[in-house]
């Protein structure tokens, strides 16, 4: 399997994503510079977290207009799986690959901590390694992770099974306390309509070994790689 990680100026989780993918794939992904206009042949496109273009203007807004993103959108439309994490998720909403927007956290502060997430809908490719209804743990680290969509869009996302992850308590309850950023319906991640693009605020690449505090992220990547191969 081949994967490509897109690198923008001030991406900063690109190395972490490369490490996680390398562990699971047994080979390194291609690191693709934002100024390139062509993507290598790839089975997975990953857009990492960070502060592309310093979050200036609006998180993800400038990266969404970079040359490489036109290619990413095209590949996504033709069915290539896209994994967009944190700033990647923000960029994906800015390009229109995913609906909704990520607003400033309700608490107005950057928040970095482990969160519990409910696997909300079944998407074999991305979360087939988990049980539906299982609670997994990834960390969040963001200032703008407050998912917003208007009522109609929100109902559509729920009805179409496009909600991928929700912030919950360790027991799986959807409460305000479990929601780190004020996201509507505690949404932490969503799929596009077709289900080949996943955007999520939490970072599965940060919990890939016991020393780091957990292995749910490793389970996520191992399954993703297996399902694509």
């Amino acid at each position: 399997m081949k994967a490509a990680v897109i690198v923008f100026p001030a991406s900063n989780c690109d190395r972490d994503l490369k490490v996680a993918l390398t562990h699971s794939m047994g080979r390194e992904p291609d690191m693709v510079w934002h100024g390139d206009s062509e993507l290598p042949d790839t089975d997975l496109i990953a857009i990492p977290g960070g502060f592309s273009y310093g979050d200036y203007l609006r998180a993800g807004a400038m990266a969404a207009n970079s040359p490489i993103m036109r290619e990413v959108v095209k590949k996504a439309e033709s069915g290539t799986p896209v994994l967009a994490i944190c700033n990647g998720f923000q960029i994906a909403t800015e390009t229109g690959m995913l609906p909704g927007a990520l607003l400033r956290n309700a608490g107005q502060k950057f928040v970095c901590r482990d969160v519990d997430l409910l696997i909300t809908s079944q998407n074999e490719r991305f979360v087939g390694g988990f049980e539906q209804g299982e609670v997994v743990r990834f960390p969040v680290a963001h200032h703008d992770g407050n998912f917003y969509a208007d009522d109609d869009k929100l109902n559509e996302l729920e009805a179409e099974g496009q909600v991928a992850f929700r912030y919950v308590t360790p027991d799986g309850e959807q409460t305000d306390e479990a929601n780190p950023n004020g996201s509507r319906n505690n949404i932490a991640g969503i799929y596009n309509k077709v289900g080949n693009v996943l955007g999520l605020m939490p970072h599965p690449e940060r919990l890939i070994s016991d020393e780091l505090g957990g292995t749910d992220g490793k389970r996520f990547f191992d399954h993703l790689v297996n399902s694509i191969v």
Binding site: G49, G50, F51, G54, F110, E211
Partner: protein, 733 residues
């Protein structure tokens, strides 16, 4: 041309004697640009004129030290051809005036110091001191400083893994923001600042130069008064995005062999970077200021030389390598400009618009900076307070709850949750423990990092306090299983022209020297921040110490959390029962008197070396040193971290409040599997180490027989809630 009057000289912070030296060095009257350059180069901040005499007495060498004080940061060997490069620096004055930008640019500056030397920063720390919690400005300052540190460090993608925060009235008018960065480099690819190679190009890279921060170094060398708010324009504005690009571009260029020397433009900007590079190399430099990338039109040589615009670097390249370097910086969309060359004249010659703007001899300006032996008086020694000297409370359970929810001991989670402490994927001990631990990427090794200082101890007895600060960092690293290797220091004090303040400085240095020597733990970098005074009132003496240690195999690392029910709890070290300067005395009796706990460096060394050996043998399941709040608080912290209780039986002749809340030095609480107890005791006996069984882990309460029983969840709540409650008060945002 501006005439240099007495008033102008005074405005530049030069004394009459210093100005007389200027005249004799030049043999003529300086122009305004030249005067400005003297002013910043001879400021306390850049010249260390009051502190140099004493700093020189600190031990700076060990077989593993590659580079001690004097460069941008210190360097130690961590084996396998790898080096750890680190330093801590203050950004106190700007952070009080403009907390967000002051703190942010402090973080930016210290990271530049580290990556200038060829290291990729892998961890940030910060040591913060604020005024009393109920001071009207405290909430606003905490909120701004923390957001500023987060805003800069998070964008850089360098984890902020820990630090410390104190609140005390002595900081009401002068907060302290000390930022530390640790980086990783290859020992054969470390970069220094000495310019060399006559004719080699001098290159400017990074952001453009603007009018911000002019005279920041001079501001940082003076006391505050009621008009200090007006100094806001001297605070720089940070751009972490540009710094992230600068980091990547510099490291990319450093992977080639094009660089001869490199220096970041920090305090005093282009002036200090160019003079330091020339002075260290024993050469001259010619700069054409027309080629300096500028943000604004009409800037004068004076403004260009004194600007403290951020995210800039000065380099000397090998001849003919300019285009290769230019390509890298253009790829990262940064300015790149050849602004001068290295000469053999020993002079700094600046030209602009075809005219000479300044022509100064380098060595006299840099080396002949004034050095003062300021008069000082020793702080009178305080009296030791024993348990019998302090009344016993009615309910020790209430006392423990009160301490856990007090300003010094309560959880700092509200702060560190705003820092990305996991990015780079190597943080294996997150904030909240004794020391943070980050892996050396791709190896079995890890670095343990901590910052510590107990200013109330330093105020009561500077020498004991200075020794204690060093010893506490050493213990905190030891408690994770790390071998402490070296420290960086950030010396924050009041006005050195007052003999009692100078006495605090001298006392702290003397204590630090004793501890560094006894623990084989040299100082490899540091910074001095004096004049932390407002309207004549100084801060508590605060020599903040940043310690770094090495774990050869991180799978052996310990944490403070109680692990399994049934593990045996042991006390390593002796309880002395001294209550002077304790949090107990302050919170319960409302007193801040007495002597700080006695530091016995021989015991520190012996107990710590023993503990590390036991950890390396895999015999220890949890370890935590005793510090603020004593044994009682240490046990509560371990229970909270592990979310499990313990039953403790104290067999001591001391009164219970003295046994539980004395802040004994050279002491740790450790836990051991029942099967290993005899082995651990055997090793202790052989080395004559005091080690006592004091209880067992289990159940949901922390129970100290005959003294107190409190549920761990209750302890957890009071510990967790104090800071969020403080910060939710109106006016805190």
């Amino acid at each position: 041309m501006t005439e240099i009057t007495k008033d102008i000289v005074a405005e530049h912070g030069l004394t009459e004697d210093e100005y007389a030296d200027v005249l004799s060095i030049l043999g003529r009257t300086p122009n305004l640009t030249e005067l400005g350059i003297f002013s910043v180069m001879w400021s306390e901040h850049c010249s260390y004129k009051s502190s140099k005499k004493w700093l020189k007495t600190l031990p700076t060498e060990a077989p593993w030290v590659i580079c001690g004080p004097g460069e941008n940061a210190g360097v130690i060997d961590i084996g396998d051809g790898q080096a750890a490069i680190f330093k801590m620096e203050s950004h106190n004055h700007p952070s009080f005036i403009e907390p967000y930008q002051g703190a942010a640019t402090g973080v930016g500056g210290i990271m530049r110091d580290v990556f200038t030397m060829g290291a990729r920063p892998i961890a940030n720390m910060n040591a913060l001191r604020f005024g009393r919690p109920d001071h009207p400005k405290t909430g606003h300052l905490v909120s701004g400083v923390v957001a500023g540190i987060a805003g800069y460090g998070n964008c850089m993608g360098v984890p902020t893994v820990g630090g410390e925060t104190n609140f005390h009235a002595s900081y009401d008018g002068n907060i302290l923001v000390n930022a530390m960065t640790v980086g990783l480099a290859d020992t054969d690819n470390i970069f220094y600042s000495a310019a060399a190679g006559i004719g080699n190009p001098v290159v400017y890279v990074g952001s453009k130069t603007g009018r911000d921060g002019i005279h920041g170094a001079t501001m940082a060398s003076a006391e505050f008064d009621d008009d200090s708010e007006e100094k806001r324009p001297t605070v720089q504005v940070g751009d972490p995005f540009t710094e992230k690009l600068l980091l990547e571009a510099c490291l990319e260029l450093m992977a080639t062999d094009a660089i001869v020397a490199i220096q970041d433009m920090g305090a005093a900007g282009l002036t200090s970077s160019s003079f330091e590079m020339a002075d260290k190399g024993g050469v001259g430099i010619e700069l054409n200021l027309d080629h300096v990338p500028m943000r604004e039109e009409g800037m004068t040589p004076y403004e260009i030389m004194l600007s403290e615009s951020q995210e800039r670097m000065l380099m000397v390249l090998k001849p003919g390598r300019e285009e290769e370097a230019r390509k890298i910086f253009e790829k990262w969309e940064l300015d790149f400009s050849v602004i001068g060359k290295v000469t053999d004249t020993g002079r700094m010659v600046l030209t602009m618009n075809g005219e000479i703007a300044a022509d100064l001899p380098v060595a006299p300006l840099a080396d002949a900076a004034p050095e003062y032996d300021r008069p000082w008086i020793k702080t009178p020694p305080p009296t030791i307070l024993k348990g019998e000297d302090v009344p016993e409370p009615n309910d020790l359970g209430d006392v423990l709850l009160k301490l856990m929810g007090s300003s010094e001991i309560a959880s700092r989670k509200w702060i560190w949750e705003q820092y990305d402490h996991m990015v780079m994927g190597d943080t294996i001990q997150r904030p909240g423990g004794d020391a943070a631990v980050v892996r050396v990427h791709g190896t079995k090794k890890a670095l343990a990092i901590t910052t510590d200082c107990t200013p109330r101890y330093c105020y009561a007895d500077p020498e004991m306090g200075g020794a204690q600060a060093v010893a506490e960092t050493w213990r905190n690293i030891t408690a994770t299983g790390g071998k402490p290797l070296a420290i960086t220091d950030c010396m924050n004090f009041g006005n050195p022209q007052r003999p009692e303040i100078m006495g605090q400085f001298v006392g702290c240095i003397n204590g630090m020297r004793r501890a560094c020597t006894a623990l084989d733990y040299p100082v490899i970098s540091g910074n001095v921040s004096l004049y932390n005074e407002t309207n004549g009132t100084g801060i508590y003496p605060t020599p903040a110490i940043g310690g770094v240690g090495l774990l050869a195999d991180y799978s052996k690392m310990t944490t403070l959390a109680f692990k399994s029910e049934g593990d045996v709890v042991m006390l390593l070290g002796d309880l002395t029962g001294e209550l002077g300067q304790t949090i107990y005395l302050r919170e319960i009796e409302g007193r801040e008197d007495g002597a700080p706990p006695t530091v016995d460096l021989e015991k520190e060394r012996k107990h710590g070396d023993y503990l590390r050996e036991m950890i390396e043998k895999g015999l220890i399941t949890a370890a935590h040193d005793i510090s603020d709040g004593g044994l009682g608080v240490a046990l509560a912290e371990m229970a909270i971290a592990g979310n499990v209780g313990a039953e403790i039986l104290l067999d001591t002749a001391l009164p219970s409040h003295a046994a539980l809340f004395a802040e004994n030095q050279a002491c740790y609480v450790i836990t051991v599997k029942p099967d290993n107890v005899e082995m651990v005791r055997g090793f202790a006996l052989a080395e004559d180490i005091p080690l006592h069984i004091i209880g067992t882990i289990g159940h949901t309460d922390l129970k100290i027989d005959g003294v107190l029983t409190i549920s761990v969840s209750r302890l957890k709540n009071v510990h967790a809630n104090w800071l969020p409650d403080l910060m939710s008060r109106p006016g805190s945002e």
